[in-house]
């Protein structure tokens, strides 16, 4: 089964991080990603640019409307994701709990619908 692991963390806190801290966080991510690739669980994963770069798009009555910023203002922001293959929710939770940002932010674990045949 595939799960999308959505990484939410505070952009403000991250922006305030010392360069040394940021460097070690990045090293942790490299290590973690390598681990799930080797375990055959990794399908995809990316870091997102901050919500200040976000644009929200809606189509109403055929008109495209865009607004500056994310879809919703929240305390923690979506900052990245992993798409993983896991046997079941327990395995997905085990992977999510090893994501470095889980220690300070939150990881939302969402199962993916299997593609329609």
């Amino acid at each position: 089964m595939q799960y999308l692991l959505l990484i939410y963390s505070s952009e403000a806190e991250e922006a305030a991080m010392q360069p040394a801290m940021l460097g070690s966080r990045m090293a942790e991510y490299t290590e973690f990603t390598k681990g799930i690739i080797q375990a055959g669980q990794f399908k995809a994963g990316d870091r997102l640019k901050p919500t200040s770069a976000a644009t929200t798009v809606r189509v109403r009555n055929g008109q495209v409307a865009t607004t500056d910023g994310p879809f919703a203002e929240t305390r923690e922001q979506l900052g990245g994701y992993y798409l993983v293959d896991a046997k079941n929710l327990d395995e997905a939770i085990a992977i999510a709990s090893r994501i470095p940002s889980a220690k300070s932010g939150s990881i939302e674990v969402r199962p993916i619908w299997p593609p329609q045949a």
Binding site: M1, Y3, A86, K87, N88, L89, D90, A92, I93, V109, P111, P114, A117
Partner: protein, 426 residues
């Protein structure tokens, strides 16, 4: 003549259904991989059994018969439906059939035990809400009807049915495994399971607005679950401790509430009303829980405290110094404000109210539990003992402001009235 034979077969069949319903469901869920499908399969298997056993007699292994009948009916139905469906379903049926074929027809008792344990871990999975844990456990493991579960939680049957549907959908959609976790995960999860069982018990034990009958039923179900866990996980110190704790609390049930529905505190209870057979069973379990390796469980320590209370023939005979010691052990194992408060109450019985008040004041100063009514009630009690009536009144009024259960509010009002009466009298 014929009639009496069929009546007695009916009686046997009913008895078999009652005994096997839980195990048959647990195994069918594993074989079919779906709660609703398994419930339907069990229903059809029971219907087929009533029809066939009356003529052909009860089979040698009725449990295996019911499981294989239920599985076959569902596989047949899926096969009939497949003509209209997609290839994906075809694969699902193939794998369900392979699983079913792999299951031995006369599987050992322990294999069925495993299925029930799987079901318990699934219903108590941490990805489900607390509400869902208790509802699923009572419905799927205890086999209570949706109506009975709804009544116990004072919600409509419709609300409870929706809650159950949502929980089962989450199990299916999120891929919550139908599995007993392996260590080390097992050791974390078993505490979650025990917390759910204890949650069912305390729901029944708390004096709420529910009818007394329902409350006793919930405690009875929780104790039955405890016994089932003890059967499936023998000599587990936490399971033994929890079962002992529930039995020792439940033994005092007949003495806890007055005929008017008022709470009777432990020190004022009529000890002759306590259920001695539950006490005897609980005490034996505490012994085993405290001596079972590898580690002391918090439930065993709480049970040991309850054991000291019920062993005192009179309240004056209570071994308070040992209770204080056990609360100190409990504080190291699972520190919490509630344990700290109980520790302070025990300390008041050994070292006096002044020392206890210091402990409660330092707990209150941390501010985490400032809205906990029992903290204010305990402060009031200690202040009253120290003759500081004015402050005691303030504390009781704060407690009244946070207490929500009517019997507890009555008790607090009575205390306030007694102080005011004394003050008016002097």
């Amino acid at each position: 003549m014929n009639l009496s034979v069929s009546v007695s077969v009916d009686g046997i069949v009913e008895e078999i259904f009652r005994r096997e319903a839980g195990r048959v469901l647990a195994t069918l869920i594993r074989l079919l991989g779906d709660f609703d499908l398994a419930e339907e399969a069990r229903q059809e298997a029971f219907a087929a059994a009533i029809e066939q056993w009356n003529e052909a007699g009860v089979p040698a292994n009725p449990r295996a018969w019911l499981i294989s009948a239920g599985r076959n009916k569902m596989v047949d139905r899926l096969r009939r439906e497949v003509a209209f469906r997609t290839k994906i379903l075809d694969r699902e049926i193939a794998s369900a059939e392979a699983d079913a074929a792999a299951a031995p027809d006369d599987a050992e008792d322990c294999a069925f035990g495993d299925d029930r344990l799987r079901l318990i871990f699934t219903c108590c999975h941490p990805a489900l809400s607390g509400e869902a844990h208790i509802a699923l456990t009572l419905r799927e493991i205890c086999g209570l009807s949706t109506q009975a579960v709804a009544r116990a939680f004072l919600v409509s049957e419709e609300t409870m049915a929706q809650r159950l549907v949502r929980a089962k959908k989450k199990i299916r959609d999120a891929g919550i495994p139908y599995e007993t976790p392996e260590p080390p995960l097992f050791n974390q999860r078993i505490y979650g399971v025990l917390a759910v069982v204890y949650g069912v018990f305390t729901e029944g034990y708390a004096v709420t607005t529910g009818s007394e009958l329902t409350d006793a039923e919930l405690c009875g179900e929780a104790i039955r679950l405890g016994r089932l866990l003890d059967e499936l996980l023998p000599e587990n110190p936490a399971v033994l401790g929890l079962l002992a704790l529930m039995l020792l609390h439940d033994a005092r049930r007949p003495a806890r509430v007055s005929q008017e529905g008022d709470v009777i505190l432990l020190e004022d209870q009529d000890r002759t009303l306590w259920d001695q057979s539950k006490i005897a069973e609980g005490l034996a379990l505490v012994e085993r829980a405290l001596s079972a390796p590898p580690q002391l469980s918090g439930y065993a320590v709480q049970a040991a405290i309850a054991a000291l209370h019920v062993q005192a023939r009179k309240k004056e005979a209570t071994d308070w110094p040992q209770i204080v010691g056990l609360y100190e052990v409990l504080l190291r194992l699972q520190p919490s404000a509630v344990v700290e408060l109980n520790h302070a109450v025990a300390v008041s019985m050994v070292d006096g109210a002044a020392r206890a008040l210091q402990l409660v004041d330092s707990l209150a100063a941390r501010g985490e539990v400032s809205e906990y009514h029992l903290l204010h009630a305990a402060r009031g009690h200690f202040l009253q003992q120290l003759g500081r009536d004015r402050e005691a009144l303030d504390a009781y009024h704060s407690a009244l402001g946070f207490a929500s259960l009517e019997p507890e509010r009555r008790l607090l009002r009575a205390r306030i009235a007694s102080i005011e009466g004394l003050r008016a009298g002097t």
